[in-house]
């Protein structure tokens, strides 16, 4: 395995070994040459960037404290947009004790609205990849932010359970910013560091679900102190996430840039780059059984995380008789652990891959997600506040790190359909959230505490599905790679996604390159022919 330097870029490079040509959500995947022939002509293109870039002008380093155009700026605009959408989607949750009195909601109403809040994004996340291809990452993001802002503002009109549910449903569509953010970072950052970059963007964006539990009760309290009655104050409080969305939308459009070389509309990108056919890409994604397994698995890590964002504040408020803002602060700690938990999950996945290859990644995922489920059971059983908080923190670490670990595996499931599979996995998160909220938290059948424990048990059961993810070339949790000489090659797996005619046209070249680089997933037993990571060896000083 090639030596990794100790810059930030070396942590969590879950795309380790992937070629720098990785377009996560673009269908156009010709090769290095086709792409660079379409970049803006200039005498020394790389000189005008603040960071070292590759031949696609994607940044090769990741410096979180910088806001330099265009790469780091895109990163920050991307994750903050995603963060803002998380704030809006879960803004109602910490205020439910007030809202339920104002609108005369039952537990069923509250639960259904919670399901609705995460359901919209199942579809918007699926569509977002194509939208970004059509409009570019900036407009993709800005559309989500600025078209869902009216939904946030319309909380002021809500008068009953039906209205509450509709508004939460419409706000929830903006969670597709997860996809637009990943798309944007993937066109801005090179494949070797994209794992870390996406892990940070994903984790820091998810933090919004925690911050909102603090922000909304605080805003509510200030508005109440300023003289409004509670039933008006919570409505005014919703203007804050609304404003944030509009402001971010404008910032994205004015400060951001679609590609390292410019915006989509000014670049002559649509020249002779042949786009892959959407139907084909979809078909190969659907044919691969691992897609479904990942869909379910993410549903029980990210899905559970979103469910908790919806129920945990009310849970602490009711069960331990806390003040609204106290319950909010505890609930916030859950979401805020994302700041480090998700990147650590990605890092753990990468480290285990160094020694044990893909099998290490699978075991890491299973361990993290199962412990998350276990601590969720404990959280439901805890009757004293300090124990509940401890269980909650351990639980948060487990599931959030599992989210990071899953995206350490996703890039290897398919080369041709990577974008769709990432989108589908993301959608699975929302689906899982709806799926867990419906039976466990939307009726008076279970006490919320029992709902939590049952959800944890269900998560542990479904996480066993990790054992079924098997790669012929690398093996699975319990089985080694096949001994068949032909199918145990990475090339066989990735080239199988192309038909003979397509291979004749040479469309599979990218997959071949990718296959070669993915030999690193064999772990320490990577072929000693020394070609496991040719691109890394080329630039040892820069990850």
């Amino acid at each position: 395995m090639a030596h990794r330097n100790e810059e930030e870029g070396s942590i969590g490079t879950s795309m380790h070994g992937v070629t720098a040509k990785e377009h996560v959500f673009s269908f156009s995947d010709q090769g290095e040459d086709a792409w660079s022939s379409h970049s803006v002509q200039s005498d020394d293109p790389t000189a005008m960037f603040a960071f070292p870039v590759d031949s696609e002008h994607k940044a090769k380093v990741f410096k979180p404290l910088s806001f330099a155009k265009p790469h780091m700026r895109a990163f920050h605009l991307g994750w903050i947009s995603f963060f803002t959408c998380f704030i809006s989607t879960f803004a109602a949750a910490p205020l439910v004790p007030i809202i339920r009195d104002n609108l005369d909601l039952t537990k069923t109403d509250i639960g259904n609205a919670g399901v609705a809040s995460v359901s919209g994004a199942i579809f918007s996340r699926l569509a977002m990849g194509a939208v970004c291809d059509l409009l570019g990452a900036r407009y993709g993001t800005a559309f989500l932010l600025m078209l869902s802002a009216p939904a946030v503002f319309s909380m002021s009109f809500v008068a009953d359970a039906g209205g509450y549910l509709s508004v939460r449903f419409m706000i929830g569509f903006c969670l597709a910013t997860f996809v637009s953010c990943s798309y944007w970072t993937s066109v801005m950052f090179t494949g070797k560091i994209i794992g870390l970059v996406n892990g940070c963007a994903g984790g820091w964006g998810d933090m919004g679900g925690g911050v909102t539990q603090l922000l909304m009760p605080m805003v509510f309290h200030i508005i109440k102190v300023a003289g409004a009655t509670p039933f008006t104050a919570w409505r005014i409080a919703f203007f804050i996430p609304g404003f944030l969305q509009v402001i971010m939308g404008i910032l994205v459009l004015t400060l951001g840039q679609d590609f390292p070389d410019g915006n989509l509309s000014t670049l002559q990108k649509k020249g002779d780059v042949s786009k892959d056919k959407l139907t084909k890409v979809f078909w190969y994604a659907l044919r691969n059984y691992r897609t479904y397994v990942l869909f379910i698995l993410y549903g029980f890590s990210m899905g559970i995380e979103m469910t908790i964002n919806n129920v945990i504040s009310e849970y602490f408020f009711d069960r331990f008789q806390l003040e609204l803002h106290t319950a909010g602060m505890i609930a916030a700690s859950f979401g805020m652990a994302n700041f480090f938990a998700r990147p650590i999950g990605g890092f753990a996945s990468d480290v285990s891959a160094r020694f044990f290859g893909m099998r290490g990644r699978l075991w890491t995922l299973w361990i993290l997600q199962t412990s998350g489920g276990l601590f969720c059971v404990w959280l439901g059983r805890a009757t004293s506040l300090p124990i509940a908080i401890l269980a909650m923190m351990l639980f948060s670490f487990g599931v959030q790190a599992a989210c990071g670990a899953i995206f350490g595996i996703v890039p290897f499931v398919s080369r041709r359909s990577l974008g769709i599979i990432s989108g589908l996995t993301g959608a699975g998160g929302n689906f899982g959230s709806g799926l867990t909220q419906l039976p466990f938290f939307s009726s008076s059948r279970f006490h919320t505490a029992d709902g939590l424990s049952l959800m944890g048990i269900t998560a542990m059961i479904f996480t066993l599905l990790v054992a079924f993810i098997h790669f012929p070339q690398w093996g699975s949790m319990f089985l080694g790679p096949t001994s068949d000489n032909r199918t145990s090659k990475e090339e066989h797996y990735y080239v199988a996604e192309w038909t003979e005619e397509e291979k004749l046209q040479g469309l599979h070249e990218g997959s071949l390159k990718f296959a070669e680089n993915s030999r690193s997933e064999r772990g320490k037993k990577a072929a000693p022919d020394g070609t496991s990571t040719p691109l890394e060896n080329e630039n040892p000083a820069n990850v």
């Binding site: 008068a159 203007f239 000014t266």
Partner: protein, 206 residues
């Protein structure tokens, strides 16, 4: 992340302090003396009352059957949910343990105990939710422990109930502001979009 840990630690300490005055944990509602006080609650008008506007005339006096009146120090008058308003709403559940019981969350008034008949005209607060209610008075001793109670309804909580309609919390000015900002958001997006398309067309035609 050190800050994060410090905040969490100080919270744990704060909450443990808050939580540790649980001396009332094991005291049960069923231990209280029933019907120690005769309570009546008369709405100011017929039909569903409006929160923030309508009033209740509440009177309470010592019942002839009361025994523990020597301990009565203060009387706490509270607004309580009738069973119909507790359905599918576990946060309003009636529990026997007094500290867990959520039946009567709304305080009306607290007065020192007086043998003679007391009355109070209560204007429904603006944060009272929509629901069906009755009034209960708790007699509390010097240690702030409930000793007895009386309520304006029968034991099954089916008689003499009254309904309240909450304020909506909506305001015309809020609605207008909401529409304005929504329109601004959509318009701004369109303006940017159209502008950029126009610029791109100009560039291409050059």
């Amino acid at each position: 992340m050190a800050i994060h840990k410090i905040i969490l630690a100080s919270f744990l300490v704060y909450l443990m302090i808050q939580f540790s005055h649980g001396a009332t944990k094991e005291r049960l509602f069923s231990d209280l003396e029933k019907d120690a006080l005769d309570v009546t609650a008369k709405p100011s008008r017929q039909g569903v009352l409006d929160a923030g506007i309508d009033k209740l005339s509440i009177t309470w006096k010592l019942s002839s059957t009361a025994k523990k009146q020597a301990n009565f120090k203060t009387i706490k008058v509270k607004l309580c949910y009738a069973p119909v308003s507790q359905v599918d709403r576990p946060w309003r559940k009636t529990e026997n343990e007094l500290f867990k019981d959520k039946t009567c969350p709304h305080k009306i008034i607290t007065r020192a105990y007086n043998k003679s008949s007391q009355s109070f005209k209560y204007t429904l607060d603006r944060d009272i939710p929509t629901g069906t209610y009755f009034v209960r008075t708790y007699a509390v001793d010097a240690k702030d422990h409930e000793v007895a109670f009386g309520q304006s309804t029968n034991e099954a909580k089916t008689t003499n109930l009254f309904s309240v309609q909450a304020i909506s919390g909506r305001h015309k000015s809020l609605d207008i502001a909401s529409v304005c900002f929504s329109v601004f958001s959509v318009l701004a997006l369109l303006v940017f979009f159209v502008n950029e398309k126009r610029k791109a067309k100009l560039e291409q035609s050059k």
